[in-house]
Point group: D2
Chain length 204, copies 4
Amino acid sequence: MHYIEDTEFIRGKVPMTKSEIRILTLTKAQIGEKDFVADIGAGTGSISIEAARIASKGYVFAVEKNPAAVKLITQNAEKFEVGNIVIINAEAPSCLKQISRIDVAIVGGSGGKIFEILDALDAKLKIGGRIVLNFITIQSLANCLEWLKYHDNYSYENIQVQITRFETVGAYDMPKSNNPVHIVTAKKINQKRCANIIRLGMRS
Amino acid sequence: MHYIEDTEFIRGKVPMTKSEIRILTLTKAQIGEKDFVADIGAGTGSISIEAARIASKGYVFAVEKNPAAVKLITQNAEKFEVGNIVIINAEAPSCLKQISRIDVAIVGGSGGKIFEILDALDAKLKIGGRIVLNFITIQSLANCLEWLKYHDNYSYENIQVQITRFETVGAYDMPKSNNPVHIVTAKKINQKRCANIIRLGMRS
Amino acid sequence: MHYIEDTEFIRGKVPMTKSEIRILTLTKAQIGEKDFVADIGAGTGSISIEAARIASKGYVFAVEKNPAAVKLITQNAEKFEVGNIVIINAEAPSCLKQISRIDVAIVGGSGGKIFEILDALDAKLKIGGRIVLNFITIQSLANCLEWLKYHDNYSYENIQVQITRFETVGAYDMPKSNNPVHIVTAKKINQKRCANIIRLGMRS
Amino acid sequence: MHYIEDTEFIRGKVPMTKSEIRILTLTKAQIGEKDFVADIGAGTGSISIEAARIASKGYVFAVEKNPAAVKLITQNAEKFEVGNIVIINAEAPSCLKQISRIDVAIVGGSGGKIFEILDALDAKLKIGGRIVLNFITIQSLANCLEWLKYHDNYSYENIQVQITRFETVGAYDMPKSNNPVHIVTAKKINQKRCANIIRLGMRS
């Protein structure tokens, strides 16, 4: 259960999921050795690289629109000698069409298109497959929960995680809080879809 | 129950207790109109000024060693037209001798001398009086709790408060967490002291 | 700044806002001596009674649908000898019509009708008036924030408060966390309304 | 990175580390395939069993004084078919003498003997070995931090983790907070010991 520390990744100015959130997200994703994993909003690639090490006989599709971030993913993939990452320098969800199959999806960022991304992932996701999402804003979280309420072929768990790191300053341990993150873990239990009519209730 | 917003105080670089912590601290202090209040580690004077408005017929003794902070307390006292604050530009606890009587004490900072400060306050505090303390570090909090365990003539409450402010960024509300603060409220229920021998167990 | 402790209120099985949340809610409401205050979802009346003590020359309209809770409000009003509470045993928002004017509104519970309640309060609220809302669920909070985004004649603050109380067990202080509560403070800065068309985007 | 859910373990009335804390604790422990792991205060054995699956060619020494808990560890070890757990039904630290070598130690409960337990673990722990501790109380945490301050041959990290689980109630997600847990991860960087004299400052 060895993992890569935050400081080991090449970062630049691109925001990165902190280690505790990364670990919980990857663990809840229950990635298998031969899985096809989609990492939406891959950022520095910290999740993609850990996922690729777990899915050693599968593939990770790292979707990231920001070219600066794409460069970091490439550099980190090289640094950690991971060969099974396919970088897709485009914006979700349109680019998801080119992925043949998805066993597990991890959504780090949705760029305000959470409904469209969930629809596109749902179209590719196998039964028993998981989507694990990280949310910072109330609005994106609420939209995801609304999507899940209308798609009762998914069971889900929703937790808020607040990590405070205590830094040693002389004889004292001083707290420094990270911002709270919601981790939503959705599992596809069958193929049944909800009627489109219901979608009228949703916010776009 | 009107209160002063953080932004209304003159601040400079001196750290200031955030409004929610200030409000809870002042409320738990149960300050009376004629009370003598000691504010240890007064900083910008935000607590002292609110306390002085409540103890309108009493006095607030603002103890602060940092001259830059003392200047801010003076400026804020002028800005909010509070005349019943006595500024003591010295370090606690030695300077507490000059205070004749204490009905309520608020400790924002202890400078690593929490045992000595509590001893000095205890010597002046009336029965039924309160000491409300804010702690950021585990060590200072633990020392305070240890002092209280050995001084069973005090009853106390200990809460941790974590405030996360959501800032509007376009269509989204983004979280920004303050660091957690412990608010300890101790009430002196009688005069009985503990034996000095017990103090040997304490850390200095 | 004296306040009533949780234990002093007559409670029964009706849920009650915990003291720290009650204090912060009341403080952010900035209630004036002559204000007309609406307390929606009054529960045990803990907020109504504190509000009535502040608005000593005004009135508090305690709106509560649950008869068992109404009985508690009456008993608590008697216990704390508060005479300026008008209990409205009905469900918001329909019953709000009978209130002539609202200077401050506090919403403890919205029963899934947050849009309708905000619309009804907005119709009565003076310019410069405040609505302070407590939320536990993501959905009600998100709906409130959406209403506020569409009503840019309100400025607002949104904080999440997490209180952990440490209980003494022998030589130890053991934590017991309350569930996190969001406190949204909205201030009406002018009378301008948003176009109804925009409302179509909303969830009902 | 598959893990066992809380509900899969046989539990009874014995308290169990919740999954997120278990996962973070195990990950920070960086257990190797051939490691000898000491699990102090093993409880239901949830940590021991996960550790035994990682240290598949090593051993886990599950130290637990409570006979009821020992029975659960045995039952869970059978259920998950783990053969490399040695159960020590005794109280730490005295029983730690019988363990020949420790590569990683996990401390879930210290029964008020944290100094003695850390001393005993330190005597067996290899250089580069890790001790990962979970703390709920301020006092035990403070004592651990004090031990670490006096043992500068250890580097450490200290985080507080607060998990809030949102349970679906009809159309809503209602929060339910777990109590905050501190996870302290100490790494032995060399063999140097501190002078005993310093220990006088410590609380026992």
